[in-house]
């Protein structure tokens, strides 16, 4: 492979990391609180708002059931409004974030619902406010599961990011399509796939290691 091609692969890797990193970050900033709200706002829960809960649940489901490539195209006006352009790596962060939010919200909701209700009752018995219960009980106890959930999200975003080439998003997926497929350069395709495999493995291993460190539920951890 020529040095130009190698450099292209290197830049594409950086593009992918930037897109996934930023959308993962923004997705978490919105998705985490949303997930906490979904997990605590049914009737008889900490912040009872069953109507809002149902509506947000519907929105989350609708977003999740829209195929990503359609989502990318459908929200072009929003993308242009937020990113100032609808083309390029910066623009691609918008649909990736929109796709990440409901995903993160649901996995965080599941992680928080897994927390033993007895702990919530104990905290209430000690006079904790709903906010204190979230902050001191639910989040710390759900942290190992939330970490694994975020790892899963990042891995999924790596996959999604391959599709944003369709709107000129750049990154490894785009490179693979344009060079590996359209120009038929199998060595580029193979390298792109290899880099993606290494990235996914790295993210997964790192996420699991962090989750294990946070998890105090078993001995010798």
């Amino acid at each position: 492979m020529s040095p130009e091609l190698l450099q292209l692969i290197a830049w594409s890797t950086v593009d992918t990391l930037v897109m996934v990193g930023l959308s993962g970050l923004f997705g978490t900033l919105v998705g985490l609180p949303l997930g906490i709200f979904l997990a605590t706002s049914r009737s008889n829960e900490l912040f009872p708002a069953p109507a809002t809960n149902r509506i947000l649940g519907l929105v989350v489901n609708a977003t999740r059931s829209t195929p990503f490539i359609i989502l990318v195209v459908a929200i072009v006006p929003l993308t242009r409004f937020i990113a100032g352009t609808s083309i390029g790596t910066r623009a691609a962060v918008v649909p990736l974030t929109i796709a990440a939010i409901p995903f993160i919200a649901r996995v965080v909701e599941a992680a928080i619902r897994e927390v033993d209700q007895g702990l919530v009752e104990a905290a209430r018995a000690f006079g904790a406010s709903p906010l204190q219960i979230v902050q001191k009980v639910l989040l710390p106890e759900a942290m190992p599961a939330v970490t694994l959930a975020l790892t899963l999200t990042i891995v999924s975003l790596l996959g999604f990011s391959a599709m944003v080439g369709a709107v000129g998003g750049g990154g490894l997926g785009d490179l693979g399509i344009r060079y590996g497929y359209q120009r038929f350069m199998p060595e580029v395709m193979a390298t792109v796939v290899l880099v993606l495999i290494v990235l996914v493995q790295g993210v997964q291993t790192l996420g699991e290691a962090i989750a294990r460190r946070l998890d105090k539920r078993t001995r010798n951890s």
């Binding site: 007895g118 209430r124 018995a125 000690f126 001191k136 009980v137 539920r217």
Partner: protein, 356 residues
């Protein structure tokens, strides 16, 4: 029945309390508690015993406002917790500690941090938290487990952390929700004696719920027996053991005092008398008579043979207490005088039937 030995104002008072869970989609309305009247004197240890579903959990949760009564009033130190405004019940709860069957410790926090939790919730500063938690760890005998996570502790140690956590805010009342039900008998005894020590040293009032009469026997000063949401009997522990009136109470009492006839005896017991049969009596020895040689006196005065079939003698609330199944001659005249003689003292004698 309001017992007469109570001081003028109890620390906790239930007045005609009822709790009804409204009907839901596919289940009918549930009456969890009905017309509960219960008084807990300051410094007492009061046990509420009942089978599962009797309403024990609801009853204890009314005290710290985790549940609200549908009717009636629950007063703690003169305050009706259910009537407090938003936010205020939280402050009131801080004067009531609680321990749980499954400990409910945070797995992500060490022993020290778990005990610190109620203090953090109350907004205490770090140095104050440390100065309160350290002595509590020492008191429950876990100073060396300070930085261990719950997963690294045994059941008994977890409950000790639970107790220390419940005491962190220096409450007046400790609520115990089946605190020993998940522990083995030896650990149960250790936890019960720790609770007794705390009661004596800190003048802490303890209300506990349990389904085990052995726990009541070891811990309680006073007992209330709960069945289907009603208190069917209450009194001092000794009264309840010595003279259980309600069938449920008898069953519970019998389970620890040998008051329930053994299976082999029940299998042989007949209601009609055949020639050569002996009569079977159940005698409970209580009060001052419990340490008297009642049986040997009986066999001397009436010249009858008394055969002990099954029995148990033990100490309940500091008094000796015996329960014996005996067989005696079945002749009606003699039997009548035997029962009369046994009942002349404070003992109870009940004729169960005949065996060959």
């Amino acid at each position: 029945m309001l017992p007469s030995d109570l001081p003028s104002r109890p620390l906790i008072a239930f007045a005609n309390v009822g709790k009804v869970y409204p009907a839901r989609d596919n289940s009918a309305e549930v009456v969890a508690l009905d017309d509960i009247n219960l008084q807990v004197p300051e410094g007492a240890i009061v046990g509420v015993i009942g089978r599962s579903g009797a309403g024990k959990s609801t009853l204890i949760r009314l005290i710290n406002g985790l549940e609200r009564p549908s009717h009636g009033q629950v007063l703690v130190n003169g305050t009706d917790i259910a009537a407090l405004d938003e936010g205020r019940p939280r402050e009131a709860r801080r004067s009531i500690g609680m321990i749980f069957q499954h400990f409910n410790l945070l797995s992500s926090r060490t022993a020290f941090e778990n005990i610190a939790l109620p203090l953090e919730i109350a907004g205490c500063a770090r140095p104050e938290i440390t100065s309160r938690v350290e002595p509590l760890l020492a008191m429950v005998g876990l100073a060396d487990k300070r930085d261990r996570y719950p997963a690294e502790l045994s059941g008994g140690q977890k409950q000790r952390v639970g107790i220390a956590r419940a005491l962190a805010t220096q409450p007046k009342v400790l609520l115990s929700d089946e605190a020993t039900s998940a522990l083995d008998p030896e650990t149960t005894d250790q936890i019960l004696s720790l609770l007794k020590t705390i009661n004596a040293e800190l003048k802490l009032t303890i209300v506990f719920i349990t389904h085990e009469m052995s726990v009541v026997k070891k811990l309680a000063d006073r007992v209330a027996v709960l069945e289907s949401g009603r208190i069917v009997e209450q009194g001092t522990t000794y009264e309840i053991f010595a003279n259980p009136r309600h069938a449920t109470t008898r069953k519970f009492v019998g389970s620890v005092t040998g008051g329930n006839a053994p299976d082999w005896l029940l299998a042989r017991l007949r209601s009609e008398c055949r020639p050569g049969d002996s009569a079977v009596l159940h005698v409970a020895f209580v009060g001052a008579e419990a340490d008297q040689p009642v049986l040997s006196r009986l066999s001397r005065s009436l010249a009858v043979d008394v055969n002990i079939l099954h029995g148990q003698v033990e100490t309940i609330a500091g008094h000796p207490f015996g329960s014996l199944f005996i067989s005696v001659p079945s002749d009606p005249g003699i039997l009548r005088s035997i029962i009369a003689e046994l009942q002349a003292s404070q003992n109870t004698a009940e004729h169960l039937g005949y065996v060959s």
